[in-house]
Subunit: 336 residues, 4 copies
């Protein structure tokens, strides 16, 4: 039985994490930490939990971690660093669902996240928690940087094709559409229902903080840094990311080649479903840890579509998958 | 006063057309034609029209066109050809909102629309009704092929950049997201609310019938046929198209160049609003005839976003704009 | 030509008002006033207005009203009182879209609106702007209290039945469902998309500030104060109110009686459409000034359904209708 | 281990049922039956099931039930009768999620369901599967009539108050709002996204087939047949029912009395959560088997609000709860 605690239990990812962990046969939820919600019961903050979990949320203190084997951190980027450092010092393993430990270069971090990083040494120690490509490192990690939602939806379809040199790295265009839960509980005019409903807008085009993350891990796992553009958009659904990637291949590449490559890398990966020439749909993956991938070839152009639930495979589900690897559970435990 | 009739008054574009025409000071609505709705009153079919228009819908017959100056045809592709031919023979001008008269090559038509074209000669006579680029021809046209919704959202932002050779024609990727009204009143399982809501899916990737239309008119107005990919998607809103175009420029191109080009071509065009580096949003154009365009430059990559209301600038509004040109009204009459 | 100014131009009702007034042939928009938006151009605040209106928003000052014939006030309740008083003192007519001048009793006002009323004398002078029932008073009014959105949807269907004593006043239950634009641009967690989408919740059950307004005007126009319950709900659409009223009638009442009564009172009212036993739908009234009413009789129970667009018939459209009456335009001018 | 089969596996309730059963530790899914989908694999029909269940759907034949302990029937009303009869004859227990076995009077059945009932004797044998009120009968039932979604949302809040005579039976008004999944996969114009989105409409007011079901079981469990009105509405969400009930109590009744009654009947019922004076929200119960109930008292009027997920507590979840009772599992097994 693994004793886990959660910092940032009051957010949307926190709620998903709790729901997944309550179903997990090998986990006991220990402490719940929060800032502004400290003192409240978790089922006051998330009324959907009423009569399933009623623990009180506490302010984070390192000594509260006695007895905790693993700390999940589901805090906005910038708020995780000191907590992760304290947990690390107490030898508690950490899975950080935010962006603070995914990059390796503090300058790039500062450029995209707009503040200094206070724990650059831990940044180097952190292991990127993309189980399909980094399983060995994850099993031995003390700090897991759980991948961002957009990068998960981009890396899983793109790495195999880059690695096998089947697409041109000269120009890859990536379009992603996300539901609103990706923005968490941020409260501002642009996120109220009347502004989001029946509307679509791109945002942070070319400057989104997931760009260097995509860049770094395409290079690490795909052996290549392509020249890519990334345009994220907000759309009026609550959950889900739809990513459409356009790239060039050479004229001799056919569907069979693409299929073979995906089979090679993913046939034994339980959470990646290659659909062939069928079109992925968000409705087939919401509330699951699956990433569905489909492709279309037209001439020497390849269009790849992938979908995930941003709160599950893009956050809490992938975090549980990483936990399973660390504690030697089957990686699907509690996730199917 | 222009006497207009409408074939296909029972669809969504038909309803929009009627609402725009009722507000137009120089138009009198004459006949309304329909197949399955013949015999019903128009306000039974579109209850929102109750107490504003209660004409009866009739089956189309050529002789009913006596007294009609202009026939709008808002029928599914394939159903317009015989009606357009009959109107043409009676010297009634036609604006066809469907896809039957936009292409020039019957073989390409057949490949994408999946049936033979029965009036190939009229196909040649038809004038493409994109007012911002084809005004002179439109003014003298007898048959207007009103542009498709996706092509409108693609051509308006892309033509100026191609024409000025500021983007590389070697690889342009186009992603479009459309609301459901673009599919008209087609009734099938994939369009019911439970299947569309909280979902997104691409469709007809690489094989959509708007691909040859985009191709033909980029060439005609942009002087260049680029190699492009086009991925249309369905998303859970009723009205609006969001198009995001990724392309390469050379490293010397800056925002100022792009801005200058759009100013050059569109500063005197009342329905194109160049937003500069501001992000377009669908909510700013719904129920209007505007196309909003914004751009982002990152390195030597250029990302262009455009939005329209698919039923207005992408259908009924553009049709009224064309009517205004033909009958010498200011092109904005009834549209602001 | 009527010169109008608007205080509170930056809100949703303000935007609708501007759009309606731009289309009105007898109106010139003079000044736009705002607090936090002062100094900005109106098309920065409402980008949909770009290239149609670009006036600058100013802080309200009474002297700016020179030349203004009519001031629309679209401010949150509590913020209108001093502005209305200043306009009144300068002999400028006022239509207040908020709740500050609808009630007649300062104690009831305080109980429901939670603050003191600073202009109780003007409260008495204000005329309730429900054109279908108060036309004569409206024509001579200096201050119009434009009805609330919920009360409009309740009073129009209920007054005729009460007045004709066809329903029992002992127990009438009223359920209303509103889109989110009714809450204006209020920014709080409960209004963000992720909290509202795929959700429904009742709110302020039994304590909503529209309860005394409904009570007062049922009495004034329906000659009877019934015992009624009112449960407002928030639902995930942007525009529209759906009101369903259950009441008792006696067993001799049939559909014909009900129909006759609605015909009697509304056949000459251009914005009330009685649908008989057909079911009203929000989609038929959005973006219009219509109120659609339908009824169902089961045994001696009568169920009445009404729909309006909360921003038009429930706010800006009804305000323009009142303006038309005051300045002797046909009441439909600019509204059809 | 219970062997279960499902007739009607291709619908929305069928999909939910499969997902719940796959998680249930004491169940093995045996056969899947369907009409038009016979011959397809279940994960072709429900792509979300890909890589979790890939059984083939077969045409129903009684002999295929050898080895099946329990047959779930999730077919449209009218299609279940012969299948239930065949299963009954083979001594296979049945839980019917449709409306064919909920009523006891064939004439009332015919009046509301518009066709004859072919198994009136089994209708008498069937036990109404509302576990909170009928547990003893359910445990010994051979045929369970699983309650309708609306009745579940009405009976749970109303029975205790009627039984304790705290509300007047003379006039109770019931308003329900349902998501679209309640209509199943019915394909017609009124259910396509463009017609449902941004819209609300009442339907079958006073004639809905759930009216006699509510009537019958208020009488059976609440000891009283009140005079009630029922107005169901369709709203633009996929899952969830919001029911708001208005009734009269006498002036001595206070919140404490109401609370005490709900505590008395539901404190030991795991799936009913009484929220006191807090407002229920659909988002807190979707994807769960909970029914949340909240109340507001104003004067001598009582307003009760309840919410369920129509596909879970209103269909598949309640069916699993009933299965648990029949086969002596804890009733929450697989449902928390």
């Amino acid at each position: 039985m693994v004793n886990v605690s959660i910092a940032g239990a009051a957010g949307y990812s926190g709620a998903e994490l709790i729901k997944l962990l309550l179903r997990h046969p090998g986990v006991k939820i220990d402490k719940l930490f929060g800032h502004s919600t400290a003192g409240k019961r978790i089922d006051e903050v998330h009324p959907s939990l009423k009569s399933t979990l009623s623990k009180e949320i506490a302010s984070f203190e390192a000594e509260s971690l006695d007895g905790t084997d693993l700390l999940f951190v589901a805090l906005p980027s910038g708020e995780a660093q000191s907590i992760v450092a304290e947990a690390f010092n107490k030898n508690v393993k950490v899975i950080d669902l935010g962006g603070d430990f995914r990059l390796k270069d503090v300058n790039i971090y500062k450029k995209y996240y707009k503040h200094e990083h206070s724990a650059p040494d831990l940044m180097q120690k952190a292991v990127y928690g993309l189980p399909e490509w980094n399983e060995a490192e994850i099993k031995n990690a003390k700090i897991i940087a759980n991948p961002g939602c957009y990068p998960t939806s981009v890396l899983l379809p793109l790495i195999p094709l880059l690695k096998e040199k089947i697409v041109s790295p000269d120009f890859i265009s990536i379009n992603s559409y996300s539901g609103t839960s990706g923005a968490g509980k941020s409260v501002n005019l642009s996120m109220i229902f009347s502004e989001v409903n029946e509307n679509v807008r791109a945002y942070k085009v070319g400057v989104h903080q997931h760009i260097p993350e995509i860049d770094l891990y395409l290079q690490k796992f795909g052996d290549k840094t392509p020249d890519f553009t990334f345009a994220p958009h907000l759309m009026p659904i609550t959950r889900g990311i739809y990513t459409t990637i356009h790239c060039k291949t050479d004229s001799s590449t056919g569907f069979a080649n693409v299929e073979e490559i995906y089979e090679k890398y993913y046939s034994d990966k339980p959470f990646v479903r290659f659909l062939g020439d069928q079109i992925p749909e968000i409705k087939n993956v919401v509330y699951t840890n699956f990433c569905d991938i489909g492709v279309a070839i037209t001439g020497d152009n390849l269009i790849i579509m992938s979908v995930i639930d941003n709160l599950i495979k893009g956050a809490a589900g992938q975090a549980v998958q990483n936990m399973n690897l660390i504690f030697d559970y089957d990686q699907t435990t509690g996730l199917l």
